[in-house]
Amino acid sequence: MSDGFDNWTVQLRKGILEFCVLSSIADEEESYGYELVKKLVNAPGLDASEGSIYPLLSRMRKQGLIQSRLEESDAGPARKYYRLTAIGKARSLAMQSYYDGLTDAVQSLRNPKK
């Protein structure tokens, strides 16, 4: 495919990855970081890598969208758990609303009869 399409997919994924992270963390529950990352990496079509997600998690934590907690482990490094903050929840809702509107618009354009 052309460079233009590649660039378009990159831009699209770039915009959507943050929304995916917020969506993957359950509302009132903690998500285990390793599993969260695996889930995102294994999501078909998202094409995300650990190398991209961990820096994103770090930035979102610094921006106050999520918060993390470390739990010491008997062996190996401490486990990290993520939870949405209030700002994160609000951002997640806003993103959801916007994304729904966006997909509807795209759908209506693709199938005008419906």
Binding site: Y34, S49, G51, S58, G76, P77
Partner: protein, 864 residues
């Protein structure tokens, strides 16, 4: 983290490197690099899925690869993150630590040296040999490739290997140049303390030297700064090993040479050392040239001995090095092109080749090659007279000085067998000036006073022994030529050969393109290999053409004449005594007696070409019934009872004196008549030679000491032996196949004997010949009488009267009539000097007659 051992240290280093590489990207994404690193580490641990084995470097690298792809775009926050503003100095530091300059600086320094030779002229030549230049340029250019990050993404292991090698190679030059860096940095301050004037001039030079010396250190820093990924530790170490090997290949021969010199061990230098370094050492310690020549000489000479070494001790060392050069190579140091800066020779400036300040000016030897002095033209003219069996050469030479100070040209000439210098001319202000002949001491004193002290135009020719003369001309002015002519009278040998004179030692250069123009004429058929021109008119014959001046230096060359039946009686008008000199050929003794002889062979490197022919010649002599004992000087040992010479390995230059002494003792024991030395060049005086000369001089057993000159070249022992004892016979085989014949001729009694008479009247029978007959007769008398005679004054006057350079007399041309008067010398009358007879053309003769008649007609009215 309770347990850190789940990750190997190599794996941890790989993670560190990866974090370092990505840190800036994470910062731009507003992520916390430490947090990201910790998250990734935890991720790796959880990925182990309970395995007990520690995570290895390979697994980390694979995980990194998995985690990094596909790469995500950099997050751009709003507002965009602005880089913290950096200060001026930080920007400067950042700028000069850019890899680009690691290579550019050293490359600029190499260019600077090519154009100016600053380091080479002030301290030492950091890149004196081509392998060094190639090595340092390779790594400087490699640094340049790093700049472009050509291979940075793929991180090939070979690049890491080359970086490791670069650290060692550049680091070596960096360490060598640290003294220069220090001198360059602090030398200015020292200059200010001692002399403000010098300091002002020297300031830019000191700074330039410091900057040049810092370049290889900078290059080393560049290679070190690039570092290496943890996974490339082995390639990095391999690279450093490679660097060491490269340095050893390039530098070890030089250091081994210096060790060999310190241990006086020619075998070590011959096997593992560098002839180039040894030659360079022959010129070390010369005033006016850089004192320290190359990388191997700088540190030991400057830091250890150079600071306290006196000028005289350096000169002594040069003498020792020159002796070693001969012992290692078998050649005279001044027969080679002098060492010069290879780097400077790549640029527009001409690299000086030889000493720029000649400390042997007016001395008694040829000594070191002088920079910027060359033979510019060379011309040989000869006339051969068949009846007298004599030839006369005139060799006209011009020297060119392209330097900026006066130079003295010195050379040793090998004359034709039994030849004598009978004319010397110097062109002063375009006019040919003939020489004054007098005792050697007188002409040498005049030359040294006028040349060395007053720096005006003289030329001096002295006999130094066994058909050898020393020629000195001074001054060859800067950007000017000096022209001289040397006349030589010499006999044809029994085979009708007349050898060409030959330069065997010189202190000037001869271009490979320079030809010697040759014209040989006479009243007989003649030929000279290589000459294409040929002509004949009535009884006159000629051959002419040109031969390479260097080729003429390299071998014994002769004109071959077809001798007609020899005239029994010839005579000439002796213009110096007013009498007739009559030579009558006596009946020859054709009886061949069986002879016993001791043959001493100089087994220096040149002899490899002669060994087979020598074996055959010895076998031929033995087959003819002669008793031959062979003693060989080879590989620093004396070998006796030799049956086959070709089995030996001939290398280096031998001290033949122990072998000659052994030969002399053997000859005494066996009552052998002949001691024959087959020799090449022996350009140095060995300390033991006095013992041999004493044996030869005082020995109770009378012996004929003869020599066969196989290779030409200066021979100090032969010079002394010829002066003190005399040489019974000498031969010059022009090629190995002629050796047998020459050897046989030496041991047979002379087949031709002459009776000489001086009388008032011309003999009733006999043929009148040219006056070279008289000169050659006197030369024979003086040569034989000079050995062991105390009446040198009489002989010197006789030789001077006949205008001859002999063991007791020399020739000098001075600039003015006052100079001659001051030194009690008399310039010869131009009408008495020998010359090449012209071949009269009929038209020329007619013109001469007409001109004479016209003069006669014009003069008549004036008479009245």
């Amino acid at each position: 983290m309770k347990n850190d051992h789940w990750l190997t240290s190599e794996a941890r280093h790989a993670l560190d490197a990866w974090e370092k590489t990505h840190q800036i990207h994470w910062e731009r994404e507003e992520a916390d690099p430490k947090e990201v690193r910790a998250d990734l580490e935890a991720h790796l641990w959880h990925s182990r899925e309970g395995s007990e084995a520690p995570v290895t470097q390979t697994q980390v690298e694979m995980a990194i690869d998995d985690m990094s792809l596909p790469s995500m775009p950099v997050w751009q926050s709003t507002p965009s993150v602005t880089e913290p503003s950096r200060g001026f100095w930080k920007r400067c530091v950042d700028s000069i630590t850019t890899p680009f300059y690691f290579s550019i600086w050293p490359l600029l320094v190499v260019l600077w040296e090519i154009f100016t030779g600053t380091l080479a002229s002030m301290f030492f030549d950091p890149l004196s040999r081509f392998p060094q230049i190639i090595l340092i340029l390779f790594f400087a250019i490699l640094g340049l490739f790093n700049l472009f990050n050509t291979f940075e993404k793929s991180k090939p292991r070979w690049l890491t290997i080359l970086r490791g090698a670069g650290v060692i190679v550049a680091g070596y030059w960096g360490l060598l140049l640290i003294p220069v860096l220090l001198i360059g940095s602090f030398g200015y301050a020292a200059g200010v303390v001692y002399s403000i004037g010098i300091a002002l001039i020297a300031l830019p030079l000191f700074l330039l030297c410091a900057m040049a010396a810092a370049a290889p250190l900078y290059l080393t820093f560049g290679f070190l700064k690039r570092g290496y990924p943890d996974s490339h530790r082995t390639p990095w170490l391999l690279g450093m090993l490679l660097g060491l090997v490269l340095l050893l290949l390039v530098e070890a021969p030089s250091y081994i040479t210096r060790i060999g010199v310190a241990q006086n061990n020619p075998a070590l230098i011959r096997s593992f050392g560098s002839e180039e370094t040894l030659l360079s050492m022959c010129y070390e310690g010369k005033v006016g040239r850089r004192s320290f020549t190359d990388t191997s000489g700088f540190i030991p000479n400057v830091l250890i001995s150079g600071v306290i070494a006196t000028n005289s001790s350096r000169k002594d060392k040069s003498e020792q090095h020159r002796e070693l050069y001969y012992r290692v190579t078998g050649r005279a140091f001044n027969s080679e092109e002098p060492p010069h800066s290879k780097l400077l020779s790549l640029g527009p400036r001409r690299s000086p080749r030889g000493v720029t300040f000649d400390e042997n000016l007016g001395g008694d030897g040829v000594s070191a090659r002088v920079a910027d002095l060359d033979l510019a033209t060379s011309r040989l003219d000869a006339h051969i007279d068949s009846a007298s069996g004599l030839g006369y050469w005139e060799w006209t030479m011009e020297f060119d000085n392209s330097g900026n100070r006066n130079k003295e040209a010195r050379m040793q000439l090998l004359l034709p067998n039994e030849g004598v210098v009978s004319r010397l001319t110097l062109w002063v202000n375009g006019e040919p000036q003939e020489a004054a002949f007098s005792s050697t001491a007188k002409v040498a004193k005049a030359y040294k006073s006028v040349a060395v002290a007053e720096r005006r135009d003289p030329v001096l020719v002295r006999w130094v022994g066994s058909d050898r003369v020393l020629v000195q001309c001074f001054p060859v002015l800067p950007e000017e030529d000096m022209r001289i002519r040397i006349g030589i009278t010499a006999p044809l040998d029994s085979d009708g050969r007349l050898f060409l004179p030959r330069i065997i030692e010189k202190n000037f250069g001869i271009s490979a393109e320079l030809d010697t123009d040759i014209w040989v004429q006479g009243d007989l058929e003649m030929s000279l290999d290589g000459l294409k021109g040929k002509g004949a008119k009535d009884m006159w014959r000629e051959t002419h053409g040109s031969l390479s001046a260097r080729d003429l230096m390299a071998a014994h060359t002769h004109v071959k004449c077809s001798l007609p039946e020899q005239v029994t009686t010839v005579w000439t008008d002796d213009q110096f005594s007013g009498k007739k000199i009559v030579r009558t050929l006596l009946p020859s003794n054709t009886k061949t007696a069986k002879q016993s002889l001791v043959l001493v062979v100089d087994g220096s490197s040149y002899f490899g070409d002669w060994a087979e022919a020598a074996d055959e010649a010895i076998a031929a002599l033995r087959n003819a019934g002669h008793e031959v004992e062979v003693i060989l000087a080879a590989n620093e040992e004396v070998h006796k009872n030799i049956t086959s010479l070709r089995d030996f390995n001939f290398s280096g230059g031998q001290d033949c004196i122990p072998a000659l002494e052994a030969g002399l003792r053997l000859a005494s024991e066996k009552k052998t008549r002949h001691l024959i030395w087959l020799h090449g060049s022996q350009p140095i005086s060995f300390k033991s030679e006095e013992g041999f000369l004493q044996l030869l001089e005082r020995g109770f057993h009378q012996i004929d000491f003869s020599v066969i000159d196989l290779a030409g070249g200066p021979n100090r022992l032969l010079e002394k032996a010829a002066k003190r004892i005399g040489i019974a016979g000498n031969a010059r085989p022009s090629s190995p196949d002629k050796l047998s014949v020459e050897l046989a001729k030496l041991i047979q009694p002379r087949s031709q004997k002459f009776q000489w008479l001086e009388q008032a009247e011309a003999p009733p029978e006999g043929k009148k010949v040219w006056d070279h007959l008289a000169r050659w007769h006197v030369w024979q008398q003086v040569k034989e009488a000079a050995i062991g005679s105390t009446n040198h004054d009489y002989l010197a006057k006789l030789a001077a009267k006949y205008q001859l350079v002999t063991p007791v007399s020399g020739a000098v041309v001075l600039e003015t009539a006052q100079d001659y008067k001051r030194f009690d010398l008399k310039q010869v009358d131009g009408s008495t000097t020998p010359s090449i007879p012209g071949v009269p053309e009929p038209s020329t003769a007619l013109l001469t007659l007409l001109a004479s008649l016209m003069l006669f007609r014009r003069k008549r009215p004036c008479a009245f």
